[in-house]
Symmetry: C2
Subunit: 246 residues, 2 copies
DNA sequence: CGATTACTTTGATCCAGATCAATAAGGGAC
DNA sequence: GTCCCTTATTGATCTGGATCAAAGTAATCG
């Protein structure tokens, strides 16, 4: 993950300008992007949009975490996506969001008004290629997650979720000296349950079990320490090699 | 879903040229696409690629059905995607497939060698926009499916699967005069189980139950008749309005 | 045509995770 | 500090779907 520093300040804040785009865009493409860009902030728990509502912008996550959830007629809910920094939200060519979007932690979005963004897309192959890449990544992650939902046991689900978060978090601080890691769990037990297709009681029980078995250590409810990452991975049920991008 | 007939024969066979692309492409972009295009055929059951293998082409489905599946260390498998005609397979910018691709029925793919296709992508905004659209559709479908896997009961899962297939099939023949439909189930019980995160016994039991309750009628094992589509939908657990694209 | 093989249905039992219910532990605000 | 409220843990019981086991039904092939 090399971040070319065409313009270091902006590259750090707007994922659509990150990497690929920055490296290859013409300066005036970037100017165009900047002209229609603005930031929005949400507090933890606050809704971004409801399913069925108009979403008049597309955005990418700068900091914080957003959840995509779907709700059934009788109120059962399933989280169908977890947007971490640099993930993309919304889609060009569609006005309506098919799921609820909620800020799970304090959240900053880098937004682009839809119309100008779409226009820009049709003119600049690099921007749309970058967007395609991001979308394909999210699709891979979604499919990875289907395996988790469809076939894993409760214990494996918890281990998988912790592994994914650990990987994303420690990628940011990239301080994973060896096989240990330490980070903050950004989700409540309920949110985890919602993501994993479990109940919050089961989540709690399995976390306790992993703690008891020495796979993870908890300081308070959120601060996690993983003494040996390989042990955690062996609990996910995944293939030793290929497992888990996201 | 209007299919503009820029060139009716080709539009019917190559989904990447369908719709959006056909309507907006310059003739020479289409020529470029045609130059690097070729067809491949697979028999039902035959593998297209294995997880981890090189995939030196990208493709879209012309006829038949392909399944994307992932396998866990201990052999548990989960289908993570079902590619129906016009769906896209493979991704520009990545050589390796992260899941097994198998022909579920006899299958024809419209293939493009990777390199020339990527080059074309970077030059023609319309083609990459079209591809982006298709990818976003698949992403939506994947997320829809996460709800099915995470929160639905076995009966609801079966009803959802039948509803999705019915919608895709009858879209093709668009002969759904009123609320009835009749079509071929293209999957074995085992493949359904694999997609739904169930066992084949449970699939069989639930299909029998839906038959007993008059929601569906079977002639042989594969031919399905749905007397009233709305009854089937009420069994999916989805919201009356917003439910199930894909 | 019967034989072999693959697919499907149905039955009996078991167990992982849901559900119901209570208690404990943080974490602000005052 | 105490009170209130949200989040988390733990226990007891129940149940939907898995698992194990056995027929039943098509399809394919010599």
């Amino acid at each position: 993950m090399d971040i070319p520093t065409f313009n270091s300040r902006d590259c750090g804040t707007c994922p659509i300008r990150h990497r690929a785009v920055c490296a290859r865009c013409e300066p005036d493409e970037l100017l165009e992007l900047d002209k229609i860009k603005y930031y929005r902030n949400y507090e933890a728990g606050q809704p971004v949009v409801w399913s069925g509502d108009q979403l008049d912008f597309v955005a990418s996550v700068v900091t914080g975490i957003a959840a995509l959830t779907q709700t059934m007629e009788d109120g059962r809910t399933q989280m169908v996506g977890l947007l971490l920094p640099s993930d993309f939200l919304g889609r060009p060519g569609r006005e309506i969001t098919p799921f609820d979007v909620t800020a799970v932690s304090d959240l900053t979005l880098c937004c682009f008004r839809r119309r100008p963004f779409e226009k820009l897309l049709s003119l600049t192959p690099n921007v749309s290629q970058r967007l395609l890449e991001m979308t394909l990544d999210e699709l891979d992650a979604a499919r990875e997650w289907m395996l988790v939902l469809g076939r894993k046991t409760a214990r494996e689900k918890i281990a998988s979720l912790i592994a994914i978060i650990a990987r994303r978090e420690s990628k940011l601080q990239s301080s994973q000296a060896e096989n240990a890691a330490r980070f903050e769990l950004p989700l409540t037990r309920e949110a985890m349950a919602d993501y994993l297709g479990l109940t919050l009681e089961t989540v709690s029980r399995q976390i306790s079990a992993l703690k008891r078995d020495g796979v993870i250590e908890l300081m308070g409810n959120r601060q996690v320490h993983i003494p040996d990452f390989r042990v955690l991975l062996s609990e996910t049920g995944d293939d030793a090699d290929g497992g888990m991008p996201a």
